[in-house]
Amino acid sequence: MRACKALIRHCRFYPIDSVLSLGVIALINWVLWASVSWIVQAADWSVVSTHLPLFATGSYPPDQRWRPLLWISLLAALTLITLIVPIKRGSNRWMGMVLPWCWVSMIPLGLVLMAGGLGLSNVPSRAWGGISLTLLLTVCSAVLALPFGILLALGRTSDLPVLRHSSRLYIDVMRAVPLIAVLFFGKLLIPLFLPMQLEINQVLRAVVAFALFAAAYVAEDVRGGLQAIPQTQREAAAVLGLSPLQSLQLVVLPQALRIAIPALTNQAIGLLQNTSLMALLGLVELLGIGRNLLANPAFIGRHLEVYVWLGALYWLFCTAMALLARKIEHSGPTLNGRSA
């Protein structure tokens, strides 16, 4: 409503604009009407609605489907709780302590639920798929890429030439290569560089390739954060008798990482989107499921329905991640005047 008023006022001042605006509004109305009527009438959603479990879990054994579904629901619930509960300093300390641990525990929980163990029957990674695989790939690669990226950033900013140059070489080469090449050659080459007896499964290979790739980008973001920390912070830590390692761990890194949160969020969202590349390389994650369905002659001409559905899902995941990151960012104290 307020937007309408703003528009009317704007048009009073810019008459040429108002003619254009009317045209655009007409166009928007037409697009909206066409979309809605397509979604409601023309589209045949049976290709989506009859395959919901497939989109969620891939070809996971039907009697075990509750395991990936449980993991997805827990993730969704945790996301909602984190977004709704106010984590302000002082108030609600308890939530501020418990939530991070809940998040950390989601990783081993997801692995056990998907792979089996602890009394659950083993399900080979070949049978993993759909949303659960997309989320698992994202989470595992991110968790591996973060520490590796931080190490690379520290190496890149070190005053020891050997460390600095080798980190820099790695970062620059990785950032020059397209991801699909890293994934494709990771698939071909990782087995060549490993001893003959050692075989690692396809999901793990993908996770390693994603993590190696993402770490180079994480490193540059963390480096940006490190450079934003004034030298005087290190001095203040030094005069208190903290060792260089303690100064890094307790003073410099916590601040640098908080400054890097927006950039790191973009990397995490990019990572989630990039897991879709595995659809070209033989894993049936979310996009892979869509492709497989469309290859079925029964669903010929149902491309738009599937793509709109997949687009909505990806949009939802990415937006949820962005909201989560903003929440984390705003829950900390102010750093040097800017809210970080």
């Binding site: 937007a3 703003a6 528009l7 704007h10 810019y14 604009d17 605006s21 655009v24 509004i25 928007i28 020891l160 030439p161 050997v162 460390l163 080798s166 080469v173 950032r175 020059a176 290569v177 397209p178 991801l179 699909i180 090449a181 494709f184 050659f185 071909l188 080459l189 087995p191 060549l192 560089f193 490993l194 001893p195 003959m196 969202i269 989107q273 990039n274 879709s276 590349l277 659809a279 070209l280 996009l287 492709r291 469309l294 491309h303 738009l304 793509y307 997949l310 687009g311 990806y314 949009w315 990415c318 937006t319 962005a322």
Partner: protein
């Protein structure tokens, strides 16, 4: 005392890296001997035996792998350079629109950025190719006749024919990168002090003129670094062309490696081409950057 520790630490890192490389290379050698491959580039001169749908240079299946890779490289350059122009135009328009006085424009631009940036490029490519372009009618009688035609065989403008594959990759790359460039442009505009906007408005300049002559030139130094990293992203993302069957460098490399089994040599060649491409884009952006800075100093 301090010096010795530094050297010891570095020595330890060198030893660690060398050991790691040694183990990896040893495994590689063992595996290569086992598969009887070895390292060699002689396959580059052998005929490929596969056809390429699109080639700017004359090409037949009897031509060599090296020639095929060159044709692929040119195809990549073609789509990348067209994509750079289109994405920049789209990005600058959408980025400026987000700071426009017209709320409708602002809303549209925000919608574009928030939708496109949260959906994987690969999915968008599939949409452009399978739905938007292949969904077109076989023949599309248009009033413009031979000037412009849009069918599922491709697009013809003034006698220039663009294939469906090329168009899909171009659309996908430009729309996707355009949204990221819009964010870069918006950030650049925000870096210009509010006083500058108020100053041109108080002088009675129109919004468009003020943006073009006052604000954008001052925002450029803040925009260029982000822009060049988006350009590099576009170049790297162009490899997703393989998903819709456009014969770019990566797709030709992929086929060649599958046929010859020369993964390591293929990877090295691809790495080299992309390092070259990066250097090229970086060099151009450096020149631009210097020009902008020089102009900033003069005024």
């Amino acid at each position: 005392m301090k010096g010795t520790r530094r050297w010891l630490l570095q020595l330890a890192v060198v030893v660690l890296l060398l050991t790691l490389m040694g183990v990896l290379i040893n495994n590689l050698a063992v595996n290569l001997i086992r598969t009887g491959l070895g390292l060699s580039f002689s396959w580059l001169s052998r005929p490929t035996g596969f056809a390429l749908a699109e080639h700017a240079l004359p090409y037949r299946p009897s031509d060599s792998y090296a020639w095929a890779l060159l044709v692929g490289w040119i195809n990549s350059l073609k789509v990348i350079s067209a994509g750079l122009v289109a994405a920049t135009t789209l990005g600058v328009l959408a980025g400026s629109a987000r700071r426009s006085t017209n709320p409708l424009l602002r809303g549209l631009a925000a919608l574009y950025v928030s939708v496109v940036r949260q959906i994987p490029l690969l999915l968008q490519l599939f949409f452009w190719y399978f739905v938007a372009l292949l969904g077109l009618p076989q023949s599309n009688p248009s009033p413009l006749g031979s000037l412009f035609s849009l069918t599922n065989q491709g697009i013809a403008i003034l006698g220039v024919h663009l294939s469906v594959e090329f168009t899909a990759v171009l659309l996908g790359l430009s729309v996707f990168t355009g949204a990221s460039i819009a964010e870069v442009v918006r950030g650049g505009l925000d870096s210009v002090p509010r006083g500058q906007w108020e100053a041109y408005r108080s002088l009675g300049l129109s919004e468009r003129l003020g943006l073009r002559k006052v604000v954008l030139p001052q925002a450029l130094p803040a925009i260029l670094p982000g822009l060049s990293s988006q350009y590099l992203n576009l170049a790297k993302n162009s490899t997703l062309a393989i998903a819709v069957g456009y014969s770019d460098l990566y797709s030709v490399s992929d086929t060649s490696i599958t046929q010859t089994g020369r993964a390591i040599e293929g990877f090295l060649l691809l790495l080299l081409s992309f390092l070259l491409l990066n250097l090229l884009i970086n060099a151009v952006m450096q020149v631009l950057n210097r020009a902008v800075i020089r102009r900033g100093q003069r005024s």
